[in-house]
């Protein structure tokens, strides 16, 4: 029996607890789905939902996110008005960087890398992922639900056999149980500027920080765009954060897709 997520412990570690409204469920379908519904019913910015298990966790386009009860961080955070200089696409990068920093702060000595656009990687394997669901009416963003899954205390046999060679947890690297509460506290503490309208966000600096952690930069990759695959060298990101692939037919810009790395 894995210990439950300790919400009180998290609450005590928050530097600005008044910013957040914490909800915990031992098991739920999906933290993101729950929070999207709550947001539609006027839940305030800063609402956080944490679960120990998801029965219908979602990845991109309805793909399942594998999780073992009590091992992962499964969290969603509601944001309404973005800081003035933060656009929705930059939010993806900003959140990825905050989570990478929060994990490294809690587990010293590891280096988190990011697979475009928003997977967390450790030692070449997937440690976690981020899925942001925005809601627009008449071209205006109404809210964003930021969903995060991180493998923390899984052992090898906690992962389904088919993903065992591609997934990793923090415990598999440290050899010890890692406090999920500490990582979530470090992450939420880093997120408090999101609720300040005049936070200094400088998109070029943000992109530079993101690129420092970006996997496959300069390497030849294949991207499945949903309509087919594009193969090329990942040379850079556009100012908007889209991928630039140098292909045989010239540079191609990719704004959504899945990277497959071929050696």
């Amino acid at each position: 029996m894995k210990p439950r997520f300790d919400v009180n412990h998290l609450q005590q570690r928050l530097e600005a607890p008044e910013r957040f409204i914490l909800h915990y469920f031992p098991q739920m379908e999906s933290t993101n789905s729950w929070l999207v519904m709550a947001a539609r019913n006027d839940a305030p910015a800063g609402t956080v939902v944490i679960a120990d298990a998801q029965t219908a966790g979602r990845g991109r386009l309805g793909r399942r996110w594998e999780d073992t009860p009590g091992c992962s961080i499964l969290l969603s955070l509601l944001v309404r008005d973005l800081p003035s200089k933060m656009n929705p696409l930059m939010l993806t990068y900003w959140i990825s960087l905050q989570m990478a920093d929060a994990i490294e702060e809690t587990v010293p000595g590891i280096h988190i890398r990011l697979k475009w656009p928003n997977d967390l990687f450790l030692r070449g394997k997937k440690l976690g992922g981020i899925l942001i669901e925005g809601n627009f009416t008449a071209n205006k963003p109404q809210f964003f639900v930021i969903g995060i899954g991180v493998n923390v205390n899984q052992q090898w046999n906690d992962f389904p056999a088919e993903i065992r060679d591609r997934a990793i947890s923090l415990r598999l690297v440290t050899g010890t149980i890692v406090s999920r509460e500490s990582i979530v506290a470090a992450f939420l503490n880093r997120c408090t500027p999101l609720f300040e309208p005049n936070i200094a966000i400088h998109p070029p600096t943000l992109l530079r920080e993101y690129k420092k952690r970006l996997l496959y930069l300069g390497e030849v990759i294949t991207v499945n765009t949903g309509k087919g695959t594009v193969k090329g060298r990942l040379t850079d990101l556009t100012p908007e954060g889209f991928l630039i692939l140098a292909t045989a037919e010239g540079d191609k810009i990719i704004h959504s897709g899945e990277i497959f790395y071929e050696t």
Partner: protein
Amino acid sequence: MNIQEIRQLIRIVEKSGIDELELEEEGRKIRIRKNQNNVVVASPQNGASVQYALPPAGAEVPPPAAPASAPAETASGESAADSDKYYEVRSPMVGTFYRAPAPDAAPYVEVGDTVSPGQTLCIIEAMKLMNEIQSEVSGKIAKILVENAQPVEYNQVLFLIEKT
């Protein structure tokens, strides 16, 4: 030249190294000039000008506050009539258009469906940011202008909703 084309020109100027673009077409002259912080669209013919605040580098171009005041709008009487009858749902960002929440799920809406404000019409995805686009109006879906899983541009019209 319609408002859509002017918007495209603004984006081209904004992303380019040039400071000013002037062009004349069928007696109508348009000048787009990059200020330090603004792009100015000026139509010297009638002196009207519309200012579009430029977002920081890398940001999405926000929808202009009052595009209807742009002089070019009157150039197309047909689009004015259409806009009375139809409400245009546009994409808030560059991305991929999805008509359903998952590949094996039913589309959010079909042509002929009646929709109400707040109802989800589609998803625009970019960089794993999944954006639900909701209807602002009540009406009937008259046209779906983009195929599922196709790329869309910023401000591209996705649906025409016949107002009720």
